[in-house]
Amino acid sequence: MRFEPTDDQRDLAGALEGLLSASDTVAVARAWADGDTAAGLALWRRLADLGVTMLATEASPVEVAIAFEALGRHAVPGPWVESAAYLPIALGHEVEGVATLALPPLVPFALDADVADQVYVGATPTDQVGAQHPSVDRARRLFEVTGTAETHPEALDLAVLATSAQLLGAGERVLADSVAYVKQRKQFGRQIGSYQAIKHCLADVRIALDFARPLVVGAALGEVPASAAKVAAADAAYLASRTGLQVHGAIGYTAEFDLSVWITKIRALVSAWGTPAHHRALLLGSLVDSRDGTDR
């Protein structure tokens, strides 16, 4: 029994952190939102060189979760869940280049279909890419595609897990940036982080993230369904985003300030790959069906 990352897993997290923190990922995400995807695709290749696109087929879901937490922490744009979680499992092999998919009705649009080398509906290739729709997260470019698809259950579980891990990373980032901000912002002659009203809100975010993490890792180990990770990570990250915005005040409400990148991403990921209501309904259904719950 050892419910902590191994040395290899820590090394993977460290390597990703090193690459991403040196890559000005916010500038990459902002350019991607404006349709300039060159920097994002260059970063894609470096992450692929590090092995991110082969983790789904060559490593375990724990490594996938570690990678996606880093992607979320750094707001890396692009169809990563599609290319590095769903499709490798559904197709049975690592994806070369950039791929994306829709899986209606759960995933109604194909993310970033205009930059993808291959677009799928489920696991079926399509070249019927239609109109683009804006997302609350301007770095997520959503495209209509036509076709019908069957869901690959294991692939879907891994996509849900990867989305959960991204939410966890994004929530951690918002908390860290908010803590840094309330330590330097002064009002009424004091750092605002010294007021209990601010402290208690941020403490609640710390607590929510601390108890979402074991469900994400637990889902990666098969201890709980992926739905459990998604509900907990979405709730915790959303709390982080609301609290983060509130403690920043008006500066946090601007597009120019980088907090906006995560606030909008978290809102988008909350409903991506199954809404919290969808996943709660799945969990309730399995609880009611099984006499013994699923905690053994």
Binding site: M1, V217, L284
Partner: protein, 389 residues
């Protein structure tokens, strides 16, 4: 990352489960806050101890099994899963015993641990005072030196002392150096609650039972042999108790997993209607919370087994479980619909859960600890010493 149990851990789990299945009383015991229930719970502690299940993590010479931390968590999970009675001796076992092991003299360990294990002597915690609650370091009860008899004279008043209405001995902090300020000059004492000069006045709780008490001290003599952890060292000794109370020891994951399973059963048995619809999210979230707590605990166990300590994480834990406990029981009462007010184990659990965010340091104090010690936020400026209050 690996959550599998070893062969010997699985064997321990099977042995625990088999014994509990054969011995847990079929009918719930009466409330331990009544005279009848107290006797029943003490008898149960004796039965546990006779089979060496009362203190599995203690050394064998004190009626334990030398169980590892992992085995202790397994025991707790099985204990709650089996629906076994609440532990009337838990304040001693979980709060005092770790201090006795760490700070007690060999003589104190030999005198106090065996009867704690058997449930023969039940301990009450005497910390809070009428004017010292969250701000415990402002306590005023005194210990005055009595050189002639080789000990101390305790005076003052303690309150909200759980189990003190029926307990045999108490442990608490007293100000032994009247010149010292706040955290300094406090000493940790052990004393019989039937000593000359001690008056215990039971206080009825929300449910009408005397779950806690006030304790008055008038020149109560305590010999030097019953000072725990050294004169003037009381605050540090007491804080190691606080870590235990907020952290692993009081709220094992099994407690919430078992309650969440029973909540799912209640949901399943509830007829369709608005009460059932309204409870659906609460049922899922209670189950999720219990699973999160279970898995979080395994992470804590891994860190502790690797030589780490709880630190301020105990405060993260305490806020989470206390709020989970209330939400879980609120959901159950919602499912019971118009029958929610009628006496039931769910109602008892609900009433008890309401105390969770208050005791062992209110959740507001815990959030301050999380913010200051984990997030690193600045402390609130404090009024200067000697400022008028």
């Amino acid at each position: 990352m690996d959550l599998t149990l070893s062969e010997s851990e699985l064997a321990f789990q099977a042995e625990t489960r088999a014994w509990l299945a054969a011995h847990v009383p079929a009918e719930p015991l009466a409330s331990m806050d009544t005279a009848e229930g107290w006797a029943q719970h003490q008898a149960w502690e004796r039965q546990l101890s006779d089979a060496r299940w009362s203190v599995v993590s203690w050394p064998e010479r004190y009626h334990g099994r030398d169980a590892s931390l992992v085995e202790w968590v397994i025991f707790e999970e099985e204990y709650y899963r089996a629906g076994a009675p609440g532990r009337v001796g838990q304040n001693g076992i979980f709060l005092l015993a770790p201090i006795l092991f760490d700070h007690g003299t060999p003589d104190q360990q030999d005198r106090f641990l065996p009867t704690m294990a058997t449930g023969e002597r039940i301990w009450a915690q005497c910390w809070s005072e009428p004017e010292a609650g969250s701000d415990l370091a402002s306590l005023r009860s005194t210990a005055r030196r009595d050189d002639e008899r080789g000990g101390w004279l305790l005076n003052g008043q303690k309150t909200w002392s759980s189990r003190a209405s029926y307990a045999h001995w108490g442990f608490g902090l007293f100000r032994s150096d009247p010149q010292a300020q706040r955290h300094a000059g406090l000493t940790y004492f052990l004393f019989p609650l039937d000593a000359d000069g001690v008056t215990v006045r039971p206080i009825a709780q929300l449910d009408g039972e005397a779950g806690f008490a006030e304790v008055f001290f008038e020149d109560v003599f305590v010999p030097d042999a019953d000072v725990l952890g050294g004169v003037g060292a009381g605050w540090d000794v007491a804080m190691s108790t606080a870590g235990n109370e907020r952290g692993l020891s009081l709220r094992s994951p099994g407690r919430f997993c078992a309650a969440a399973d029973r909540l799912v059963d209640l949901y399943r048995e509830t007829p369709d209607g608005p009460d059932r619809d309204a409870a659906a999210q609460g049922v899922v979230d209670a189950w999720l919370g219990a699973q999160a707590y279970r898995l979080y605990t395994w992470g804590t166990v891994t860190r502790l087994a690797g030589g780490g300590d709880m630190g301020a994480a105990g405060s993260v834990n305490k806020v989470f479980w206390s709020e989970l406990d209330i939400a879980l029981h609120e959901t159950a009462l919602g499912l019971r619909g118009p029958a929610a007010e009628v006496g039931s184990t769910w109602l008892d659990g609900y009433t008890f859960s309401l105390s969770g965010p208050i005791y062992a340091g209110t959740n507001e104090v815990q959030r301050n600890i999380v913010a200051e010690r984990i997030l690193g936020l600045p402390r609130e400026p404090r009024p200067s010493r000697g400022a008028p209050t």
